[in-house]
Subunit: 252 residues, 2 copies
């Protein structure tokens, strides 16, 4: 079972778009996938067409000890979603519990075995309590990097945070980078790709996800790219990214 946290504290770099579409691509390849919407804004839940009001989700598992089995919803064939739920915002600002608050998601996974080939955790654009919990619960981290300057800046800050946490806790997670919102014709996009490949050799997944309007449209219909436009290049890119993560194919 591979537990992958999709993390980048920079906003709007494609964390949710990647979690949703990569998850569906892996499911289409036959893997059993569970996605966790770990953002109180619940974009992933909405994107799958799975939002209801009120809703219980990962927030309630953490705050109210509701068993995961009662919260997980099948959203596609071989693809399950643990929605954000209405209490996740409170969890972010939980004050009691001291340092072990960072381990609550990890303990949840230990207590309640999730039966999946892949678990993908869609994170919020913050590096606080939610980000810490995701990092500590995961064995691998996937960092979507949009093809612009602030995104690149965000990566170096993120790496400092990871290195600090990992040295304190004597643990290491594997890191993968995904180029998102990529436009080969833009010099800036090529620069960002070159910088990321330079600083993280053997860690940048092979397929850049190109800027494609259908990827932005599909969540408006509660659909993944595979539901919405299965032969679109956005579907092709995410299917190729799924092969990349399975086979660990990186840019050389």
């Amino acid at each position: 079972m591979r537990v992958i946290a999709v993390i980048n504290q920079k906003g709007g770099v494609g964390k949710t778009t990647t979690t949703m579409n990569l998850a569906h691509a892996l499911a289409k390849k036959g893997y059993r996938v569970t996605t966790i919407d770990f953002d109180p804004q619940a974009n992933l839940t909405v994107g799958f067409g799975a939002l209801v009001r009120p809703q219980a989700g990962i927030g309630n598992a953490l705050m109210d000890n509701i068993p995961l089995i009662e919260l997980i919803k099948p959203v596609r064939d071989k693809l399950n979603l643990l929605p954000a739920g209405d209490r996740l915002g409170e969890f972010e600002y939980l004050t009691e519990g001291g340092a072990k608050r960072g381990f609550m998601l990890q303990s949840l996974f230990t207590r309640e075995q999730l039966d999946s080939d892949f678990i993908l955790i869609d994170c919020a654009p913050t590096s606080g309590m939610l980000g810490m919990n995701a990092l500590l619960a995961a064995d691998e981290v996937m960092v979507p990097v949009a093809s612009d300057f602030y995104s690149l800046q965000g990566v170096s800050r993120l790496m400092q945070i990871f290195n600090y946490v990992e040295s304190k806790l004597q643990r290491r997670t594997r890191k993968w980078f995904v180029l998102t919102r990529y436009n080969e014709r833009r010099k800036m996009a090529r620069n960002v790709r070159d910088q990321i490949v330079h600083y993280f050799p053997q860690q940048v997944l092979n397929t850049p996800i190109r800027e494609t309007v259908a990827l932005a449209e599909s969540p408006a219909y509660g659909k993944t790219i595979f539901d919405y436009r299965a032969r679109n290049r956005g579907a092709e890119d995410y299917m190729n990214l799924a092969s990349d993560i399975v086979l660990e194919q990186v840019i050389h």
Copy 2:
């Protein structure tokens, strides 16, 4: 003096790009402007070319009571910046102080008069402590709305948060919306514009900021669009947006 918080908890919608370029446009029109980088990620500070390490900023004013006068840096003619500073991340997770923690920025403004025609506060993509402080310290709110579905979704959630806070505190701020990353040829962009104008009549500023690669490139050089490509359409859009906010020109 107009105190405007640039707020949207959705990531990557153009808060920082708008704060930086709108501020410079207003300064070029002769207004005295102070910008506040209220995001621990310090994108605004970097975008102006004003980041140094270590750096004291608004976080230190709030946490250490350093006077603002010692922290404010002139960054352009008639344009000052109060950088994020290294302690702002801690302020976000401050636990002592109870409910009045939300009023700390407001009290700071009351105690230390900032002498400006406009104060623009660039906010982080979160709706926690930082967002609350900005909302309560400002008289007006500017909401950049990127031209896609999740951005639109984010607006309705943001409005619920504003309405809740404002009814509790019996106060109202003026709200402005700015269409960002706009592409007239995309149906989705036109839909987002139509929805925002429909739900917020008289509140959507007249000039949509078009998707323009120079706007994404300029911060890589520590430049605003006016420093980088002054005759570019990105500069034109932000200069027009500056007229819109001064004259309160909205889409009808």
